[in-house]
């Protein structure tokens, strides 16, 4: 949900008030950083900047400020996947290669675990586990068939849940 304050900031920014833009960036940067960080990993800062540049460049044309977060989320996920794909030099390992549940490394090295997944897998996990989206919405956002998301999610999330619970 977008509160009235955020709507007012969007409207003021659209009129060219740079202090409103600054306040809006304060609001959106942590949100975009939480999405881009786990998807783009080492390129998370670049992805966050690129996503926010895309958001702010298009903000002039946003007609429904009430839909701000959903709109920002879609841009952030797409930019993070695009940049992570561009930066990745090796093919992602199979999920079967994940550390076994109970592996003590998991508790301290989640970035290492994320690095073993493809950018799309990481995006699916972020959308579902951080953003609380359902599979159909996650699929639509990633331009993937719903069935693909479901199977990716099932495998990826299952491994993570077992690992983190242990």
């Amino acid at each position: 949900m977008v509160d009235d304050g955020a709507v007012l900031l969007v409207e003021a920014a659209q009129r060219g008030d740079v202090l409103a833009m600054n306040d809006l960036l304060d609001l959106l940067a942590p949100y975009v950083g939480r999405i881009c960080g786990p998807i783009a990993l080492d390129s998370g800062q670049d992805a966050t900047q690129e996503a926010l540049v895309a958001v702010f460049r298009a903000l002039r044309t946003l007609r429904e400020p009430g839909a701000l977060y959903g709109w920002v989320r879609a841009i952030a996920v797409r930019e993070a996947v695009r940049i992570a794909r561009r930066e990745s030099r090796s093919a992602p390992a199979e999920l079967a290669d994940l550390p076994a549940p109970g592996d003590p490394q998991l508790a301290t090295d989640i970035e290492d675990v994320l690095a073993r997944l493809s950018p799309e897998h990481r995006a699916v996990l972020v959308l579902r586990d951080v953003e609380g989206m359902d599979e159909r919405s996650a699929a639509a956002l990633l331009d993937l068939p719903a069935g693909t998301v479901k199977s990716r999610l099932h495998r990826a999330r299952d491994s993570f849940r077992k690992a983190w619970k242990s």
Binding site: A13, Q14, R15, G16, D17, V18, L19, M21, N22, L25, A29, P30, V32, G33, R34, C36, G37, P38, A40, L41, G44, Q45, A47, T48, Q49, L52, V53, A54, V55, F56, R57, L59, R60, I110, E111, L114, V126, D129, V130, G132, F160, W164
Partner: protein
């Protein structure tokens, strides 16, 4: 989920990246960047001595008087070298400064450069009323001159 979220990596922007983002929304805005061979504290101190060296780096903003300060917000009164007066509203934080009047915008940012020194980014110009836009004339040239003046102050 909270426990999980705490462990997920998060990405944060530095002040120069924030300036690039904000400039992206402003049609006609150009960001001019340069690595200055001096420590951040020294560079940022000169850029944000608003009633002092700032007027030497941005000559159009000579005779600036900070009238009000509250947290990171400030109100300043400026008399330009042509005698025009204006009220500026701004936000000033370590590494980041934005000042806007009805007609002008000044944006400055600085962050430590990876290879040493300080990366400084400037933007700004004459505002187009009612929308996020600047008159795109001479903005890069003015910013380059400001960076030249900043470097001269440091030598």
């Amino acid at each position: 989920m909270e426990v999980v979220n705490e462990h997920w990596p998060r990405a944060e922007l530095d002040a120069v990246q924030r300036l690039r983002v904000l400039a992206a929304m402003i049609a006609g805005a150009a960001v001019t960047e340069r690595v200055i061979a001096a420590p951040f504290e020294e560079v940022w101190g000169l850029l944000t001595d608003l009633e002092g060296t700032f007027g030497e780096i941005q000559p159009d903003m000579r005779h600036l008087h900070v009238a009000q300060r509250s947290g990171d917000r400030l109100v300043a009164h400026v008399r330009s070298r042509y005698g025009m007066r204006a009220r500026f509203d701004g936000v000033l934080r370590p590494g980041s400064c934005w000042l806007q009047s009805r007609f002008l915008l000044v944006g400055m940012a600085a962050a430590g450069a990876p290879g040493g020194g300080t990366l400084v980014a400037l933007t700004g110009g004459v505002r187009v009323p009612g929308r996020p836009a600047l008159v795109p004339i001479g903005v890069r040239r003015e910013a380059r001159r400001s960076l030249d003046r900043l470097e001269r102050l440091l030598t």
